[in-house]
Symmetry: C2
Subunit: 395 residues, 2 copies
């Protein structure tokens, strides 16, 4: 018997409430992603095991593994744990050892216990006896019990023949396993919002295909590089699926727009064309939707009216806008968690065309009639000239 960590408890949330068939498929995906992630991060492990409602990773590097696994979509939380046989004596010994290794002096503590299966002891037995053993064995630490808001905790989870004992729980990223949904086209720029939008849809199980637009000559350098770096960060969340990025030249149609339409509508026509370009990629990639980072009211082109004016440029693919009802502070917060905050650059610095007084209440009919002067055939050439980068090879 050892009280060293030997296991990671992996908890998943919504997967657990799916039908048997769906749950089985999703947990299967999750297990494959966990194995791939541990290999990629070079964390040794002997086995990834599923039981009802949980996945267990058997590894002598449980702390490292818990950190890696907690960043896989579908994982709600992880705990590095000691595993012993499900006898009260072994649980008590291991529990006291874990407390000895982790508890700090003069703080409050509690014992938590859950039990599944048939045993000759109850959860309450564990709580009482381990609580008392810890108090006695570690009397030098001057601990006190607080069941409501303890500063430190020993948790015991007994499942049939095994008992898992742990002191910490690492928050996971949540969501659903990658590949449980279809491909989506994630438009991504050098800005703050679009990577967060992509992340939220990826988190729900979709496989991203990134699309970035190269505004040259209507911008200064670097912007595409920043977009690629943002996509690279996001692609790190995907295991076992190829992740591609299309960089589409968008300069020719922008030039055509500014030469042939009223300046205050430039951003609207630009966005309509970006949606059309993204749609072409959706057709090529057999994707289900197009994802954008738009937030109502964030910019002139993102008023509720202008979202209407932009959206009907395409009809046969839905435009998913996961941030549409979020505040900027929420998006910033998530960007920091994801790891894209440091890259973000004002979108306006990546395009020299936004007018000083943009239209905030465009009329659908006027937009349609002005658009007749734009040469939409340019878009086909632009897609044909796209540069495609493989961010993850899927193996």
């Amino acid at each position: 018997m050892s009280t060293q960590y030997s296991t990671v408890i992996v908890r998943f949330g919504e997967i657990g409430i799916k039908s048997h068939q769906t749950r089985k498929r999703m947990v299967g995906l999750l297990v494959r992603h966990i194995e791939a992630a541990l290999r990629e991060h070079r964390v040794p492990f002997s086995k990834v095991r599923r039981e009802f409602g949980r996945v267990f990773v058997e590894t002598s590097h449980a702390k490292d593994a818990a950190g890696v696994v907690s960043r896989i979509f579908g994982v709600v939380s992880t705990s590095p744990a000691a595993r012993v046989a499900s006898s009260l004596a072994e649980i008590l010994t291991a529990g006291v050892e874990l407390a000895r290794g982790h508890f700090e002096p003069r703080k409050t503590y509690a014992i938590r216990a859950r039990r599944f299966g048939e045993h000759d002891f109850s959860s309450q037995d564990i709580r009482e006896q381990l609580g008392s053993d810890v108090m006695t064995s570690l009397s030098n630490l001057e601990l006190s019990v607080d069941l409501d808001e303890p500063e430190q905790t020993i948790s015991v989870e007994v499942r049939e023949g095994n008992a898992y004992i742990f002191v910490e729980t690492v928050n996971g990223v949540g969501g659903m396993p990658t590949g449980s949904q279809g491909k989506v086209i994630c438009t991504i720029s050098s800005g703050l919002d679009s990577p967060v939008a992509a992340y939220k849809v990826m988190k729900r199980g979709c496989v991203p295909v990134f699309v970035n637009f190269d505004n040259l000559p209507h911008m200064e350098g670097e912007c595409n590089d920043i977009a690629v770096r943002q996509a690279e960060v996001l692609a790190q969340y995907i295991y076992n699926y190829e992740v591609k990025m299309y960089i589409i030249p968008h300069g020719p149609d922008l030039t055509n727009i500014i030469e042939n339409t009223p300046g205050k509508m430039t951003c609207l026509f630009c966005k309509r064309n970006m949606l059309r370009l993204a749609r072409e990629v959706a057709v090529i990639e057999d994707a289900d939707a197009i994802v954008t980072g738009e937030i109502i009211g964030e910019q002139a082109s993102q008023t509720s009216r202008n979202l209407r004016v932009i959206s009907d440029a395409i009809c046969d693919y839905p435009i998913l806008r996961p941030l549409v009802g979020d505040d900027k502070v929420d998006v910033e917060h998530l960007a920091r968690q994801i790891g894209t905050y440091r890259f973000a650059r004002e979108a306006t610095s990546c395009c020299s065309l936004p007018p000083r007084y943009p239209s905030v209440q465009a009329e659908p009919d006027r937009v349609k009639s002005a658009e007749e002067n734009i040469d939409l055939s340019l878009l086909q050439d632009e897609v044909a000239n796209a540069r495609v980068i493989i961010l993850r090879d899927g193996n």
Copy 2:
């Protein structure tokens, strides 16, 4: 001079970074909503005043007012405050009095101070002298200073001739003032998600028009009542704008769907028709968009593929899905904050038609061809027979 609260400091977030013209309009809306909210909640006040970056409410009921105002869209936080002239002597006296009224014994504290305008003292002077005066005057409380993580705080904000002194900050709901964006059609059911979706888009400044579908005879009673109650809760967040709710009979076209199309596609055709019905209301109401509570992967009809299959039922209005990338736990959390959690009922209990094995990967072409057997002309009658309720009269 009085050290009683006499003022509420109202802070807004994103409004502050808008252009001069937009900001002026938005703060104007905010002030009107604050006045209307205080009147409605019968909180007496003498004036709502705007200054650069802040709104101030002058009231002898500052604590009540802070609570009401913090639930108005656009408000990031509020603080009930004492207001004195901006002399160091008055600030010190008022600060000590406030500490005497609010500080608890044997806890840590800090003084925070900000200053705008010309004064013969600095922020640092306030921090040092008020810190020292509090320590001396309240020596019986045995306080100690902790500048990093104080348990209690006196904050001083000096703006030109006024100084505001406060001990607490109430979190606001955030977002943008109602009416800064256009009308949106918020589809709403008796379920958990749709009211949260509506809330998020309302929070961004949109005025909601609620649409609920009456599935009779394909459901058991009560469901529409629950939807109405949920809409009533949401409507309480709207001031100065009329809020309507349409309850549209959806039974006739559902009957037509089940009689003429494959059972596993029922939910898809139902959703396509709900979008068409919502679109009719959008035309009537001159709205900018249709809002739904869909979350990728939450139900069979909400796979990424099925969202695609559903969405192209309408093309000329965008479908906004603010929850599309959220996890169920996030939605539950927000529903509790909003006040709709207690109403929510499983959507399935409000419709008897969902098939046991629904299609999760419908083919767009097959859906289109099956839909040719549906009589879409029924929808016009249904909209014509809608019951319209006025939830808020806009005055």
